[in-house]
Amino acid sequence: MRAFNKDIVRSIRHSLGRFVAIAAIVALGTGFYAGLRMTAPDMRLAADAYYDGTALMDIRVVSTLGLTDDDIEALRQVKGVSAVAGAYSADVLATLNDEQYVVRVHSLPTSAPQSVQADAATVASEDPDYLNRLILTEGRWPSAPGECVIFSDRVMSGPTALGDTVTVDLSVGEAEDALARTEFTVVGFAHSPLYVSSTAMGTSTIGSGTVEQFMYVLPEDFNADMPFVEAYVAVDGAAALPADSAAYDARVAEVASAIEAIAPEREQARVDGLKAEAQEELDEARAEYEDEEAKAQKELADARAQLDDAKEELDEGRRKLKSAASTLESSEKKIKDGEKEYTKGAAELDTRRKDAEAQFKEAEDAIAANEANLAEAEAALPTLRESLAQVTAALSAPDLPEEQKAQLEAQKAELEKSIGEVEQARATLDESKAQVAAERKKAEAQMAAAQKKLDQAQVDVREGKKRLEEGKAAYKENEAKLAEAQAEYDKGKAEYDKEAARANEELDKAERELADAQKDIDNIEPPDWLVMDRSKNVGLVSFENDSERIDAIASFFPFIFFLVAALVALTTMTRMVDEERMLIGTYKALGYSRARITSKYLIYAALAAGLGSIVGIGALSQVLPWVIMDAYAIVYYVPQGAMPIDWPIAGAAAGLGVGITLLATWAAAAATLREPPAALMQPPAPKAGKRILLEHVGPLWRRLSFSWKVTFRNIFRYKRRLVMTVIGIAGCTALLLTGLGLQNSINDIIDVQYGELVDYNVVVGEKADADSGARETADAILSDAAPLSVAVRATEASMIAQGADGAEAMTTIVVPEDAATFQDLWHFRERASGETVPLPTEGAVVTEKLAVKLGLSPGDAITFAEQDDLGNATATTYAVPVAGVIENYIGDYAFMTPASYQRTFGEEPANLTVYARATDDAAERAALSEALRATGAVDTVAYNDEVIDSYRQMLKSVDMVVVVLVVAAAALAFIVLYNLTNINITERAREIATLKVLGFTPREVNAYIFREIVLLAILGALLGLALGVVLEGFVVVTAEVDQVMFGRTIHAASFAVAFALTLVFTAVVMLVMRPKLARIDMVESLKSNE
């Protein structure tokens, strides 16, 4: 038993070449299988680690009307939500180093500067609400307004340096509403888990339609009154689940539907809030309006009142004038009357004077008479008075009797009466005298007064006359004045009327505006909440898809290796069994069972295959994922993570590798072991020479030298080796051709697209809402032949094209105004035939990839659907017949004539896009861009060079894949050829020795042996070229990315190189094997057969 084991160990030691050959091919097969199969899981694992490490949001909530703090709070309350972050963002068109990009501007979370990068894929932060954590790769965080960090990727988004300035074009898109400034200084570069792919950063409604750069700025740089644009949500427990697992999807879906459940309420709240806010504003505006209106009305009323006053005054004046006229008239009459009266008065006075004179005479005469009478009485008076004094004195006596007293009293009274009478008469006379005198005086005064009055009247009349004259003059003057005032009034009135009309009109307008605003407010629709999980992030999806592509390739590629491994094992073990024929016989003779003996070979093969599996899986499961992820790293920023060995895959790979080898070994050993021991002790009957088919082609065969004949006979003598070698070499060549063809395919994207198909190098997009002056300026520049030798206007529209079987593709419809000239800029041709395809008046010409994707061929109908805000197809569709399919590599396009467009979409072509051929001079180009943008009518000026550069960079990622394929191909070639040569040499050692004895030169000996290998290699290589075409086609179609068609032709040079390289590998093997051939001793020829 132990001796048997020793035999196995020695067998290995003595046939190390054979052992290594089996181990190596199994290593290659299992390693490739395991490595490729583990790549996708490793990529997903790395992605998961990156997403978890950067706290990538699980759900993104966007509201069409923005989100409020209340909304954020409401989201936080949703069951299963572990963190919520509100964020601002806006898509803007910005210029950076003279190139224009569609930039998505985000608000930098406030916790970002405090975060700590733990490793390549992890950012630690104490703020659980800090989601989508940025990895700062260079520079620092923005600390002041006007600073920003931008995407680290400088391949796809152009060269930038710290300190560069990003200038935002406020006139495009949301920029003006969103941003508080236009200039930002780049202070840092960062990666964001929201953008894992630098080629798929998302779509935008502005510029080229795709986001090309991102930028994080301080929240202060957004307008203060802006609501949150979006909310990032982390789902509790989701990070613990693998990001690509169904469990994760289920968990997130659960929370997403919980969020959707609160959405209607929040949407209503948002619209209510907005309405209230707007209403308040409107109410304020209305109040203001009302104030203004009142003021205006008052002003108008004042003016009216003034006018009325003026009118009244005018009327008054008129009245006055009228009265003045009558006054004048009456004055005139009065004056006349006065004159008459005067004359009359003067006469009357004269009469009165005469009358009065007469009366006075009479009175004076009477008085004189009375005087005389009185003088008599007065003469008696002293007596009387004496008597009175006696009486009085008597009376004063003391005892005077009463009778006397009474008598005396009576006498006294008598006396007093007589005196009194005299005195009375006197007084009366005096009075009369005075009266007459007074009368006279009075009359005289009256006369005088009358006279004076007359005089006065005379004066008055005179004066009145004068005044009348004056009055008449004044009247005339006033009359003139009044006329003037009337004119003025009329003017004022007219002005007022005009002013009032205007004011009214303005007020009406304001009123209407307010009503409109009110209507607007009443019409505010509730916003839509879009609850999006990670599958709506194109970068993440693209990464996932690419990992799946690798899986598709992994399921196909390694079978070449397994097939070759089986063949190598079969031939090698057959040779080993043949060599040990006698030994097997001996074992049999010694009584070892067939199974036991077979086990030797099975153990040998299992050890070789097992070792190969371990080495191959161990090495390639690390190397291949690394290489592939490294290649993808050009486009994706997902830091490479741990690459753990996936045991089920490793087990499957090793099982396949070992299993195939054991099966082949068993097949190799079975036939020999069935022979009886006696037969085994004999040398094997040498394989008889046989005529081959070729010999029947007499003329050809006769022409062959003997060594060629041998070669041909040998080739057909050992069919297993033939198959092994041809398949192995075919695999080698196929791998080479696949690698080179892949490179061709990808290079052709650029080389054919921009070298043969497309002759424009700049596309200018005009703003739809530019004013006519700006547009004219832009048009003038665009039609200037100096910078743009050919320019064609066209209309572009983005629609979702739908095929017959429900396939969909975002398509750009291009409608050139001048189809003939446009074909100078974009050559339409059919790929296979190379024939030119004209733009038909009816229907659309579509690009090849689009046609294939939608399963369309000429004559079918292509349906275009309008898209909603989310980019989903709506029910509004238009069908057009497909008139032709043209070769195109980048983008999905449909071309139509303006007439066809109008018929289909019922819309005038807007012709806002200009395809043009610009000068190659960089300075002139920059000046052109500058001039165009300065007009304000131009949105985008995009040179193809930028696209070309990006693609060229991307292509470099393929180089590494090509290297891997070349290495694998070389390994395959070496293993197979080494094995074949080794077997051939050991088996034919005697023949070779004989030839040497016969005097063959080393060269002739080499040729004798190697010619066969070269022939097989050539045969294999030729087959490999055919196989390679198939393999390359498969890989190209599988690896193809959306919107891009890889080239479909493998260049002749690639065929040549793949073929030549295969022969080079063959030559290398021959060089390696030559010493072994040289070492064969001629003495060998003298020995017996075994």
Binding site: P686, K709, V710, N714, A993, L998, M1082, V1083, L1086, S1088
Partner: protein
Amino acid sequence: MAFVEFRDVSKIYQMGEVPVAAVRDMSFDIERGEFVVIVGPSGAGKTTLLNMLGGMDTATSGTIMLDGDRVSAYNKKQLTRYRRYDIGFVFQFYNLVQNLTARENVELASQICRDPLPADEVLAAVGLADRARNFPGQLSGGEQQRVAIARALAKNPKLLLCDEPTGALDYETGKAILKLLQDTCRQTGRTVVVVTHNSAFTAIANRVIHVREGSVAAVEVNPAPQSAEVLEW
């Protein structure tokens, strides 16, 4: 000067530290046209001698001359030319190329020579004209050896070296082969050297070289060799 001259030829193998002489100071001559048998027991140095004479190995010391050429001074390339043009070799196990017909096997040799004999003629000479299109596997041992002889002769060599040419053959066939060799020598005047352990063959030789323990024990010249037909062993 003899056709073949061995003068003090030694072949010493270095077996580790110990030098082992397979052939020591061997000297003999062979004349043109002779049928020579070199005879000796196993391990006597016959094969080494043959190797050196056939240009398959070099002598450690001494001189080997063939037809005036100093073979012992040849380098590898010259030795190849020597084997190619001057030597015809017949092996014990025929060493035919299995994948070539009888005639092709002959051509294998003749195609590399300067002045080959026509293959068909040679084959006819060895009596295999009708088997020319057969593969070795379809021929008997004797026939195969005849092909091998034809192959050696077709080269028109100066010297025909045969290593135990009958070793793998039965008695009758062996005798026929010996006769063929002897006839060849007699009829074409070609020098034939047969190496064998069978001393019975000495009877048919013009010259017999006895080899023993790496040296020439004796050289006897047989003025009247027997015909191979009557040979018995």
